[in-house]
C-alpha cells in the first residue's frame, strides 16, 4: 500500500454523482447542425482553412493550429460547411467567437486514417501528431497536450493520471474509466513513453470503486504484453474536494509540493486527465483526431446520464435527450464549484465541456445577499493552496492589485472552497477572478506601452539619421559644384561668367528652399 499525503484544507460538498452513473455511456444521435468553435483550447485560436460551401469528411482539418500554444480543430462528421462566422459560444462572457457551422450528411465518411505505432517515433514526432489531432486536456482547462509533453532537460520520474474527478455531479471520467479502462491504460503508456517517465500512477477517488477495479483489471490484462504492471499503478485517494486539482493530486500521491510560480515538471512530475490519455491512444493507435467526448448531463433532468457526443453538438440537443424538467432556471457548464452559467442553451459543446448541470431553484437556491467579512478565517482553513482568502478579498475589492499579487493571488486555483464555507456568502472566487483578469490586462497594456516606447525611440532615431544623411549628401554635392565652378570659371567669356553667376544664385535659392523643406517635414 502506497503511503498517501495530505493537502491543506478542502471541503466535502455532497457528491451527487450517483444520478448519472446508473446507465452506461450512451451515444448521442447525430444532430441536424454542428457548430464547431475554432477556439476551444488555451492559447491562440485555430485558423480556418475551409470555406462556407465546402464539403468536408469526418476528421478533416477545419482549423490549423496558429501559434506556439494552439491546437487543431476538425470536422466531427462528414457534411457541408454552411458558414464560418461569429456565433455565441460557451464562455462566461456571453460574447460570440468564430465558429464553423457544419450540416451533417449522415454518411459518416472518414478521411484516410493513419494509425501509427508510437514506439517507432520520437516524442517530438508524436507531439506534432497530437497537435494536428487537436488533442487538448479534457479535464476542463483545454490546454494543448503537446505543450505539456514538450519537456526540456528535466527528468520526469512520475506521470500522474488524474481520475480523481472531485467536483460534485460530474461523472464522465468515472464512466470512461469503467468502460474504457483498457484504452486509458494504453494511452497512459504512450504518455509515459513520450515523457520517459519511470512510473504511471492513476489517482482515483475512493468513491469510484468500479472505476478502480476496471483500471486494475486493465493493467493486469495488458501487463503480460507490455510489462506495464511494474510501472502502472492505481492509487486510491480519499474523496475530498478539490483533490482533483493537479497540484493537490500531486501532493496527495507523491508528497511533493509544486512551488509557487513553478510547473509540476520542475519537480519531475507531469499530470494528465484520464480522458486525455484515452484520446491520445485513439489519436495515435487509430489515427482518429479528437472529434467527440463523454459529457455528463445531470441536475434537473429526468434521466441524468453520460453521453458520447460530437464536439459542436448544441447543448439543447443533449439536454433534450436527458429530458429537461419544467422548473429549470439555468444551465451550468462544468461543476457547481468551478463551472459558470451558460449565456444561452443553443451554444455548442466544446472539447473542455465535461458536464452540463441543468439548474433549478430547488437544486441551487439563489445565494443570499453577501454580508461583510467578519474575518473568521474559515476560508483559510478551507483553502487548498495555503492562501489567505480574506486578505486577498480585501485587496481585490479595494483594487489593490499589487498587494494581492504579493499575497500570491496567482496561486489561487479558483476551486471555490472558500466561497463554499464563507458564512457571509461572499463570492470570493469572483473577486479573485476579477483581480486576476485586471492584473493580466494591466500587464498586457504595460507590455504594449513598452513596445510602443521602443518603437517611438527608434522612429526618432531614424528621423534624426535621415536628416543627417540628407545634410551630408547635400554638403558633398555643394562641394563638388564649388570645385567644378572654380575649374570652369577661367575658360569662360565675361557674358558666360555673368550667366553662370545668375544660375548659381538660382541654385543656391533652390538649395535653401530644399533645406527649409527638410526642416518642415521633421516638424
Amino acid at each position: 500500500m502506497r503511503k498517501l499525503h495530505h493537502f491543506h484544507g478542502g471541503v466535502h460538498p455532497p457528491s451527487n454523482k450517483a444520478q448519472s452513473t446508473r446507465t452506461a455511456i450512451a451515444h448521442a444521435p447525430l444532430p441536424p447542425r454542428l457548430v464547431v468553435p475554432l477556439h476551444q483550447h488555451a492559447g491562440e485560436a485555430a485558423k480556418p482553412i475551409v470555406q462556407a460551401g465546402d464539403r468536408v469528411l469526418k476528421g478533416q482539418l477545419l482549423g490549423m493550429p496558429d501559434g506556439f500554444v494552439s491546437s487543431a480543430v476538425h470536422a466531427p462528421t462528414s457534411g457541408t460547411i454552411s458558414a464560418i462566422d461569429m456565433q455565441l459560444v460557451a464562455h462566461p462572457s456571453g460574447l460570440p467567437n468564430l465558429c464553423a457551422t457544419l450540416i451533417p450528411d449522415g454518411r459518416e465518411e472518414w478521411i484516410a486514417r493513419e494509425p501509427v505505432d508510437y514506439r517507432e517515433h520520437s516524442s517530438a514526432d508524436l507531439q506534432h501528431l497530437l497537435r494536428m489531432a487537436g488533442v487538448v486536456g479534457l479535464g476542463g482547462a483545454g490546454f494543448p497536450s503537446d505543450i505539456k509533453l514538450r519537456i526540456g532537460k528535466q527528468k520526469i520520474t512520475t506521470l500522474i493520471l488524474n481520475g480523481a474527478e472531485c467536483e460534485p455531479y460530474i461523472s464522465c471520467d468515472d464512466m470512461l474509466m469503467r468502460e474504457r479502462a483498457g484504452e486509458i491504460v494504453q494511452g497512459a503508456e504512450i504518455l509515459r513513453y513520450m515523457l520517459d517517465a519511470d512510473e504511471v500512477l492513476i489517482g482515483v477517488e475512493d468513491n469510484k470503486p468500479e472505476a478502480i477495479a476496471a483500471l486494475q483489471q486493465a493493467i493486469s490484462a495488458s501487463g503480460s504484453t507490455l510489462q506495464q504492471n511494474k510501472r502502472h499503478e492505481v492509487v486510491t485517494i480519499p474523496t475530498i474536494y478539490p483533490g482533483g486539482g493537479a497540484k493537490q493530486l500531486i501532493r496527495v500521491i507523491t508528497g511533493l509540493e509544486v512551488p509557487s510560480g513553478k510547473l509540476p515538471t520542475d519537480i519531475g512530475v507531469q499530470c494528465f486527465n484520464v480522458a486525455t490519455a484515452c484520446t491520445v491512444y485513439r489519436a495515435l493507435a487509430h489515427g482518429e483526431p479528437l472529434l467527440s467526448r463523454v459529457i455528463t448531463i445531470t441536475g434537473n433532468v429526468r434521466r441524468a446520464q453520460n453521453f458520447e457526443a460530437l464536439i459542436g453538438t448544441p447543448i439543447t440537443e443533449l439536454v433534450a435527450l436527458a429530458g429537461m424538467l419544467p422548473d429549470t432556471s439555468g444551465y451550468i457548464m462544468g461543476g457547481p464549484m468551478m463551472g459558470f452559467p451558460l449565456p444561452a442553451l443553443d451554444v455548442p459543446m466544446v472539447k473542455a465541456t465535461n458536464c452540463i448541470i441543468v439548474a433549478s431553484e430547488k437544486l441551487f437556491p439563489p445565494s443570499p445577499p453577501p454580508m461583510p467579512c467578519i474575518r473568521c478565517t474559515r476560508c483559510v482553513d478551507a483553502c487548498p493552496a495555503d492562501l489567505q482568502p480574506q486578505d486577498l478579498y480585501w485587496f481585490a475589492q479595494s483594487r489593490e492589485f499589487g498587494r494581492a499579487q504579493k499575497f500570491s493571488l496567482f496561486d489561487c486555483i479558483e476551486c471555490g472552497a472558500c466561497s463554499y464555507v464563507c458564512p457571509s456568502h461572499i463570492p470570493l472566487v469572483q473577486y479573485f477572478r476579477f483581480a486576476k483578469s485586471e492584473i493580466r490586462a494591466r500587464e498586457h497594456d504595460k507590455q504594449l506601452a513598452d513596445q510602443a516606447r521602443v518603437r517611438h525611440e527608434f522612429h526618432e532615431q531614424r528621423i534624426e539619421r535621415e536628416k543627417r544623411e540628407k545634410a551630408e549628401k547635400l554638403a558633398i554635392r555643394e562641394k563638388a559644384a564649388q570645385s567644378a565652378k572654380l575649374a570652369g570659371i577661367q575658360s569662360l567669356t565675361p557674358q558666360q561668367q555673368a550667366a553662370q553667376t545668375e544660375l548659381e544664385a538660382g541654385r543656391a535659392h533652390i538649395i535653401e528652399l530644399a533645406k527649409s523643406e527638410v526642416e518642415h517635414v521633421k516638424e
Binding site: 445577499p369 453577501p370 522612429h459
Partner: protein, 189 residues
Amino acid sequence: MLSALLVMAAIATVLGAVLGFAAIKFHSEGNPLADKIDAVLPQTQCGQCSYPGCKPYAAAIAAGEADINRCPPGGEEGIQKLADLLGVEFKPFGSDTAAPKPKSVALVDESMCIGCTLCIQACPVDAIVGAAKQMHTIIAAECTGCELCVAPCPVDCISMPVIGEKISNWKWKYPLYAFTAAEAAEATR
C-alpha cells in the same frame, strides 16, 4: 583660534573633494525621475498633453512645468499612478484636456488610399506599412491609437474603430449582487 580655522578649512577641502569625486563617479545620465514618470505614461505618443510625446511630457512633469492631469489615454487611473509616484494629490482632468476615450486602433480604407505616405510620416511608432503610390496599411498590433495619422490623410480614408470587448480581451467583472425587490425594501426599511 587660527588652528580651529585651519582644521575647519581642511575638513571643508576634504569633504568638497569627496563630493566632487562622487558627483563625477556616480553621475547618472538623463533624468531618473523623468524616466520613472515615462514608465507610467501609456506611450501613446499622441501629443494630447500638448508635448510632442510621452517622454517630453514626463520631462516637463519632472521639471515641475506640467500638471499630472494632461494625459487622456492614461485615464484617471494614470493620474492616480502619477500622483502616487510624485507624492501629490490626485487632480481630475482639466477643462482644456480632451476626455479619455475607449481604446481604438487606426484602420485604412484600402480601396480609397492613394499612397501619399503622409500618414506614414505622421505615425510616431512606425506602425504603417506602405510606399509612395502603393496602398498603405496599419499594423494593428503596433498601433497605439494616437490618431495622428487621421488629420494628414488627404482623402480621409483612415478611421479609428474602437477595439471593443472580445473574448480575447474580456475581463471578469467586479462582483455585484443584484438585490431582489423584497431585499431592497428590507434594506431601505
